[in-house]
């Protein structure tokens, strides 16, 4: 059964798109991530023009983050103030990112930069997470406590000026690293079509030492707004948001996510992190291989309408 995508201007098999959405939704529900880092490469593998994949991926991230954020909001595990500071940085980053996106597209290096960013980020975040979770699993096996956050232990981040009190997180922290983190994630959102949760969550825990209970909710809060902003900016400047593709992905994604959450609840935290780390690493390695092995064809053709 095929469906015509009006913006991507091609016919695709709706079952494959539904399957992709459901699989990514399942994983995102299971691990509590937006899934943008999976959906964008998958769409590109399926011949969707990268420009459309990135912009549409951001739209799908909005839908999958909303239901997660609502749950966290009900539980009261969102630090709105912290989220807003992140968001300010994020919006600035997304603006720079869209500009960077258009620039890279013009010089023909967008696919390379997207792949390199994915390889570097997924590779490093994946290895760090895997290392940490394996250590945690070992300790759990030896019946030792696993302190994720070590209070009193401060790093250079906590010596920066412009400090602000974040009541819900119970921390006193400079706004500079928070806004910078938001800014960097914002760039990634618009260049790579990812929410950035897979980088933001570890950075908030390990770098900013924000309590784990508010981290996921707060990052989702910021992801919703930055992705929504990216969708609107991409739609306005590049006309590359395919609403039909996005809607099919969303529907499958949110349903898949519900089942993912149920499976996720049966697993322990460190097991989940180890699995997510493996998944992140696998995507990273897959893209790295593509960069290193000789391509099937060293030539590629793009027409002016949908170049990247």
């Amino acid at each position: 059964m095929s469906i015509y995508l009006p913006i991507a201007e091609l016919s695709v098999n709706i079952l494959i798109i539904l399957g992709m959405g459901a699989a990514v939704g399942f994983l995102s529900g299971m691990f509590g991530v937006g899934g943008g880092f999976l959906i964008t490469p998958l769409l590109i593998f399926y011949n969707i023009p990268p420009v459309v994949a990135v912009a549409t991926g951001a739209n799908q991230v909005v839908a999958s983050s909303i239901s997660g954020a609502i749950t966290h909001f009900r539980r009261g595990t969102i630090d709105i103030k912290l989220g807003t500071v992140l968001l300010c940085g994020g919006l600035a980053g997304a603006t720079v990112g869209v500009w960077l996106f258009s620039l890279l597209r013009r010089v023909g290096q967008l696919d390379l930069v997207i792949s390199l960013l994915y390889v570097v980020l997924l590779g490093s975040v994946g290895s760090l997470m895997l290392w940490e979770s394996v250590r945690a699993m070992r300790k759990a096996a030896n019946n030792q406590a696993t302190p994720l956050r070590r209070p009193g232990q401060h790093n250079w981040v906590h010596r920066l000026p412009l400090k602000m009190r974040f009541k819900k997180s119970k921390i006193y922290l400079s706004v500079i690293p928070v806004a910078t983190l938001g800014f960097c994630i914002g760039i990634l959102t618009s260049v790579m079509g990812v929410g950035g949760g897979f980088i933001m969550v570890p950075a908030m825990i390990y770098l900013l030492r924000i309590p784990t209970n508010v981290v996921v909710g707060t990052s989702l809060f910021q992801i919703i707004f930055v992705s929504a902003y990216t969708v609107i900016v991409q739609a306005s400047t590049n006309y590359t948001v395919d609403i039909v593709l996005a809607f099919v992905l969303m529907i499958a994604g949110v349903i898949g996510a519900q089942y993912g959450v149920r499976v996720g609840q049966k697993l322990r935290g460190e097991q989940l992190r180890a699995l997510l780390a493996l998944l992140v690493l696998a995507v990273g390695i897959r893209l790295a291989i593509e960069l290193v092995i000789p391509p099937k064809d060293v030539y590629s053709v793009v027409s002016a309408g949908f170049g990247f």
Binding site: M1, S2, I3, Y4, P6, I7, E9, L10, S11, N59, Q60, V62, A63, S64, S65, I66, S67, I70, T71, G108, Q109, D111, L112, L116, A228, V231, I232, V233, Q234, A235, S236, T237, Y239, V241, I243, V244, A246, F247, M250, I251, V254, I255, A257, Q258, L291, V292, P294, P295, D297, V298, Y299, S300, V301, V302, S303, A304, G305, G307
Partner: protein, 267 residues
């Protein structure tokens, strides 16, 4: 499953009036007696949500032919369906520090985005390559003019070949050296194909008549490929009201996400 929208087009021998292509119809301003007419029943193809490409049948007639030459099979017909033209950039990857990077590129000016060629026999045997090259018939003879500075032009050939090869393997450029058949002494039928990832816009059906290796007459008809219904509304909105389109896309995501969390809420 692979149901193709088959557009059967009427047999017509009367002349079409297409002002934009009038100059092409007058190409045969010489003393040949033969006249070429082609017809299609529609000048518009609609892309619907289940569009999977279309096979197009074009009917035509040769008038004023020489029966002896016809009996000897000296008349040959080539029919092409050319998509809208756009600049196309060919990029070449090279290994830089172990990874494959696009290092050089060449942009060709206004090349058709799709091209389907059908003929009575292999076009290389219809007329000498020089003639085909002059007329730009066939993928191998298509005019590929590089845009901007190309250095000494030594790599022009490799980029042109790469362009042709990629477009052919991806199926947007096709040829069928048997796609044109005479159904009576002067009436012929040609089938050309619109690929599934067909570009929107004005496509041109061109027919060429050759007599014993010499070009005699040509005819061109426009064929508009348009999105209809929802697809058309979406494209139009995306380009004319991009901000509200983006806003609507976000709203749709919010409703979907929210709806799912209400629907699956565990009480």
């Amino acid at each position: 499953m692979l149901r193709l929208a088959r557009i059967v087009l009427a047999v017509t021998t009367f002349a079409f009036t297409a002002p934009a292509f009038a100059q092409l119809q007058d190409e045969n301003a010489n003393d040949f007696t033969e006249k070429l007419e082609i017809g299609i029943s529609t000048d518009e193809i609609a892309i619907t949500s289940d569009f999977r490409g279309a096979d197009l049948t074009i009917f035509g007639a040769v008038d004023g032919f020489d029966p002896n030459l016809l009996a000897q099979g000296k008349y040959n017909i080539i029919v092409s369906l050319e998509g809208p033209k756009d600049n196309a950039t060919v990029r070449k990857k090279e290994r830089v520090f172990g990874i494959w990077v696009n290092t050089s590129s060449m942009t060709f000016e206004l090349v058709p985005e799709s091209y389907s060629l059908s003929s009575t026999r292999d076009i290389e045997t219809i007329a000498p390559p020089g003639e085909m090259g002059n007329m730009g018939i066939g993928v191998d003879h298509m005019r590929l003019v590089p845009l901007g500075f190309v250095g000494d032009g030594s790599n022009l050939g490799e980029f042109r070949n790469a362009f042709r090869r990629i477009r052919e393997t991806s199926g947007v450029y096709e040829r069928d050296p048997g796609g044109v058949q005479f159904i009576s002494s002067s009436l012929f039928k040609a089938s050309v194909r619109l690929p599934a990832n067909v570009p929107n816009g004005v496509h041109v059906v061109r027919a060429y008549l050759f007599r014993d290796g010499t070009f005699v007459a040509a005819k061109a008809l426009p064929l508009r490929v348009v999105k209809t219904g929802v697809e058309q509304v979406i494209t139009q909105t995306a380009h004319e009201q991009p901000f509200f389109y983006g806003l609507f896309a976000v709203l749709l995501a919010v409703i979907t996400g929210w709806g799912a969390s209400l629907l699956f809420r565990k009480d």
